[in-house]
Symmetry: C2
Subunit: 327 residues, 2 copies
């Protein structure tokens, strides 16, 4: 195996010079740099990456902290992060936090000791000190962490207004909004977007808080629809909740979209598998993950980052749960 | 910061002895070991994990190579691997291979240089030399790699016979089997299981090869059902294919389960969200991931592994696409 000594000999410089050059850790003359580069090239010398991470305190590992990969919103995000990371020579460590601050802290500490290069984090621990005081580059995905950390998210508020208007334009007069959990930023922004649209319309509405969970959403909708037979539209703050609402309606024998129209939010693949297919405000999840990874790598590599906040546009996808599309 | 020198001084032994002890790389007397342990404890000395991985060529990183995390079968598997790994102090690097041998090889090489401790692999590159000649511990998940590599999978053949019998017992006389891709071991085992049950029954049947892909499966089923109106049962080799078949049937106005009963294979969460809910042969995906991780860590830590092949039992989950359950 080629060693650093072989490179130094070939280049006609000292081992220390080769080391300084390869680790970017001190002054090397232009001539020496050129000689080392040719020697590395010629000898096909590969710097041991673990030794390198020890010297530069960087290991080309990115930590991806998300609540739970089995929540259907996250696999596509993870996929985008991994695809982009790979392009830049980074690999991704997967961390499921279950929204548990202790688990998040534990991951941050464990991975810092492995000289992780940076983190992409989806968390609602908005102002937790373990993020605020972090020296390593972080990018927040989906949910803002704090003002100091670059964030990538969808235009949730506008998107929710779009989804609500899709129901209003198709004749809904009495809309149930399945609002997401109060502690989640995106859920609050979507609530604001719903309120923007519904208050401008003068239509009747109800707001019920509902976790992003299928069978909980089914149960809540079932009870609500039994007590409020006048409901003719449901806007759900997530596709999983919308799927629960659709199942409740179908089970009660309510015809979708004839008697009741439904719109979700997310755009996960499952939506098209339902019958009828779920109309939804689709996030560009892959793009969100890709931007977050690119921004993180720029920060890791000390390149300028032009923006602090990235808002990725959503898109209305109409399928069979709203009128006018047979699918 | 406490250094290895401080530990040596406190323990009254040489730095080399401390190093040998901490890295398990040579003989240390019982007295010295005791003294070093107390000194490490008292000084709260933390061995630098990157330095350690350099010395022991092990970094407590596990590589998880799977085709695509956005395929709904894999998130739960990844979750199980990460949960169990964390318990044993390992972290998981996520690698999407897209079933591309070049990408797999690239990951193996990149991660070996990071002194990855071992790999869990879901691949159909059964006998690829980059696996066969690998010095590091590997465990194969779902699809067997080769005879030398421990494998964890479901009892696919029995499971497929169970699924087929569920249709036969509920009166199906003319069954369409949506067979999975020929190059996948599990798909072939499920085909054998279907054949075992159908040939024993004397019922009529058709076999159509179909990728584990929703809209492809929908299209194939749609065409088949239009040409074969006598079909009264569909057994699909995956839940995603079964979801496509269900959508095709509903779109054609065929009543499920009254006119056509459907059973899938996998047990992914999406099944219960469909209307009617999808009857399926459910794999214990989490358990498969957990066993694979435990076996891999045993191999990494040179503990005895009692079995070479682990077959995790499947379970029939009847929902609304078969008769007798209203859901």
């Amino acid at each position: 195996m080629t060693t650093i000594r072989d490179v130094a000999k070939k280049a006609g410089v000292s081992v220390a010079t080769v080391s300084r050059f390869l680790n970017g850790s001190g002054y090397v003359s232009a001539d020496a740099a050129k000689a080392v580069t040719s020697a590395v090239d010629e000898l096909k010398y590969e710097l041991n990456p673990v030794a390198r991470s020890l010297n530069t305190k960087q290991s080309n590992l990115i930590g991806l902290i998300l609540p739970d990969i089995t929540n259907p919103f996250f696999p596509e995000l993870a996929r985008a992060v991994e695809d982009v990371a790979l392009t830049y020579g980074y690999t991704v460590v997967l961390c499921n936090s279950d929204e548990n601050p202790e688990k998040e802290k534990n991951y941050l500490n464990t991975l810092k000791k492995k000289y992780i290069a940076g983190f992409i984090v989806t968390s609602n621990q908005l102002d937790a000190p373990h993020y605020a005081n972090m020296a390593l580059p972080i990018v927040a995905l989906d949910r803002a962490i704090n003002d100091k950390i670059p964030t990538v998210s969808s235009n949730n508020r506008e998107g929710a207004a779009m989804g609500t208007n899709a129901l209003l334009e198709r004749g809904c007069k009495n809309i149930l909004f399945l609002r997401g959990p109060n502690e989640l930023n995106p859920a609050n922004e979507r609530y604001q977007g719903f309120m923007d649209a519904i208050e401008a319309s003068g239509a009747k509405y109800h707001v019920v808080t509902c976790p992003f969970h299928f069978s909980e959403s089914q149960k809540i909708t079932d009870e609500f629809l039994k007590a409020h037979k006048e409901i003719d539209g449901i806007f759900a703050s997530s596709d999983v909740s919308a799927a629960g609402a659709l199942k409740a309606a179908v089970t009660l024998g309510i015809k979708v979209p004839e008697q009741l129209q439904i719109v979700g939010f997310d755009g996960i693949a499952m939506g098209e598998m339902l019958s009828p297919g779920l109309s939804t405000v689709a996030q560009d999840v892959y793009k969100m993950g890709a931007i977050a990874t690119r921004v993180l790598i720029k920060r890791i590599e000390n390149q300028p980052v032009d923006q602090h906040f990235y808002e990725v546009p959503v898109q209305l996808k109409l399928r069979g749960t709203t009128k006018g599309v047979a699918e």
